[in-house]
Symmetry: C2
Subunit: 249 residues, 2 copies
DNA sequence: GTTTCGGCATGACATTTGTCACGGCCGCGG
DNA sequence: CCGCGGCCGTGACAAATGTCATGCCGAAAC
């Protein structure tokens, strides 16, 4: 059922969200009468200061262009690696940080945790390509205020930023449901390590060498991971763990 | 790793660096598109009409925002599926089409071939996440005029569009070199089929069932694909073929 | 304190996978 | 025409993989 549910889930998520806006708590946002910026939480006050982190320069620049079109938003810093974000945030003091999950250096979720600790006033909005259930769970645990996938209509990004800045949470409801449906990560830390090492396709001997383990131990962990993921081969276990977002750091 | 090469590459390409191997077709068509809209360099003429196709709505919207900032560019159509592009292009007659490679429906390279046939005046610029050597090769064979990865600085996208519209070719030189270094796709059509079927991690029996083949045949094709990719296991062969862009359609 | 659980390891075993040699069928180019 | 290469299949064999039972250790939970 898992494969079936995955496929249907993603398509459904797209179709569903095309009609209904992102909202986790309460009010349906219908106050979309373009012009006036005062409507969304922000007073007539200074614009919301943003930091944008994404490793793909083109996407990052495009996101900045999109956000800077809004009169009440202003991008004050951009990062292309996860490990740059903290320093930049300390320097520029953004109100909201938009973080991609997949970045070199540090993944966005780890960065979110850093930011929450160093700059409690800075809210975090995760913007990611993949709606892996495990990502959402870990992002929320790390203190993120919002989580949107890059499938969501561009119009809603600015609104998501405003809601996050206003202290609300922003989560794609379809994704939240899927995240609840799929249980917690069943893998132990070591099992995840082995699966991560198995990702690039090496043999048991290769994995054992990489991790300084006995080959028998590697086989045991693989077997146990295959069992826990309900897979029938190592490759399938890797795929399932990937799709659920269980292989982060 | 290729980040700085990318940046330098685009600039270099602009200067007309040493031989650009991919423009060897020698079509000196500098007068062709000039016929309709006078000089390419002139900014006083009508804006360049663009079509943008990318399955991720947020990225698509952001790219449109970025491009519409340029006074001489105007986005007239957007598509989120490959199989929507042709109809939209016939309706809106863009001068340049920006196509992502990974899209539902049809991949961007196939769409490029469609467009070249149906609308010879419409240039194609491929904009993709992955700089797979095989993608570049096939894109050029399909008649694309340019190929940029999403790592390139945002500033250079508009310039790439203008160059493509002027009848020039735009290719990241580093990527072109890599593309030449890695030889042509060594896999036969059937071997690619088998590797594609092996991607999601099924057993030999699963693959055989999916493709209506004998298990022995599947093992033979796998073995041959493993040999040709210089891999040491099925999983590694899949990874290598993926990274080289040998598993499209 | 005892139980439980995760990490690590060994050894034995059945199954799967990868390789090789062989055969047949087709279409294409020398 | 005839060879070559791609496609499909069989059979046999060695190596890798997946499973299971069993053991030891330390830490956390009861």
């Amino acid at each position: 059922m898992s494969a079936d549910a995955d496929g249907a889930g993603m398509s459904g998520s797209r179709d569903g969200t095309s009609a209904d806006p992102l909202s986790a708590d309460g009010d349906g946002m219908s106050s979309d009468s373009g012009g006036t910026s005062a409507a969304a939480g922000g007073r007539d006050s200074a614009p919301i200061r943003l930091l944008v982190a994404d490793d793909q320069a083109l996407v990052r620049g495009a996101l900045i262009a999109l956000l800077d079109l809004e009169p009440d938003l202003h991008v004050v810093a951009e990062a292309e690696r996860g490990d740059e974000v903290l320093a930049l945030a300390l320097e520029h003091r953004p109100d909201v940080a938009l973080l991609d999950v997949e970045m070199p250096g540090l993944d966005g979720i780890t960065v979110a945790a850093q930011l929450r600790q160093a700059l409690p006033g800075c809210r975090v909005l995760i913007v990611t390509t993949f709606g892996r259930p495990g990502y959402l769970k870990r992002a929320m645990a790390a203190g993120a205020s919002g989580f949107v996938v890059k499938d969501t209509p561009a119009r809603q990004l600015a609104e998501a930023v405003r809601r996050v800045h206003a202290g609300l949470r922003v989560v794609d409801p379809a994704l939240a449901a899927e995240s609840l449906a799929s249980g917690d990560n069943p893998l132990s830390a070591r099992e995840s390590d082995i699966l991560r090492a198995a990702q690039r396709g090496g043999s048991v001997a290769d994995i054992a060498r990489d991790l300084f383990l006995s080959e028998g131990t590697v086989r045991n962990y693989l077997s146990s991971a295959i069992g826990k993921t309900a897979a029938r081969s190592r490759a399938e276990a890797v795929r399932i763990a990937e799709e659920n977002g269980w292989l982060l750091s």
